[in-house]
């Protein structure tokens, strides 16, 4: 249970970091 929850939080962290990176790069590419 503990491992599962830690993995979920880790996935959330990676997703958020990835989302910000992708969003920023996409905005730069689309509005240049």
């Amino acid at each position: 249970m503990m491992v599962r929850e830690t993995a979920a939080w880790f996935a959330y962290g990676v997703s958020i970091a990835l989302g910000v990176g992708i969003g920023w790069a996409l905005f730069d590419a689309l509005t240049r």
Binding site: W9, S15, I16, L18, G23
Partner: protein
Amino acid sequence: VIGTTGAVACLTLLFLGMRSVMAVGGSCASGGPYTISQPCPKGVGWVVPVSIWAGLFFLAVSVAGAARVRAPAIAWLAWPALFCSLGWNFLEFGLDPAGPETGPVWGWLVCGVLFWVMGAGPVVLGLAQLRNRGSERDPSPLVVRAATLGSRVRATTTPPPFRAATTPSAAAHRDADDLVDGLERLADLHRTGAIDDDEYRRAKAQLLGGR
């Protein structure tokens, strides 16, 4: 992962799109048969609306995915994230507007404060509620004392109950309930005349640990 990444990416697009519009004065237009005084920055005209709808879609994917693998639900954080990030833009550009304008733009500052209240308000209330729930779980010193008294009373009258599966705080609550039950029963006996004043006083003192 896909849902959360997509939702965050869309929120980032929205945040940056809003910043780019505010950087050209806060309003812009593109297309149509009119003379446009302030054209929109390239791409923003469609990036902003698309990011709103795509963000909602990805948020739904994120919620469904989290429910499927029974991960902690964090999709509600999208609300404070949205309002606080856009509110930040209002506050930043309200204090230091782009272009020839100088000084604070009060309309934007009001929007910024409102957005922060809407975004952060529920979080603050939620945290306060969580804290309350936490204190309910940890009994106050009064409850612990009442529970101790109750267990002492019971030790003289009944054999110790089986407690292996209960936590200390659950046992404390149960003991406090037992004490209150005992006092109520005693008061009933006194009221109906089954015991006189003196007997009631002595029994009550004994129940509260004065033996």
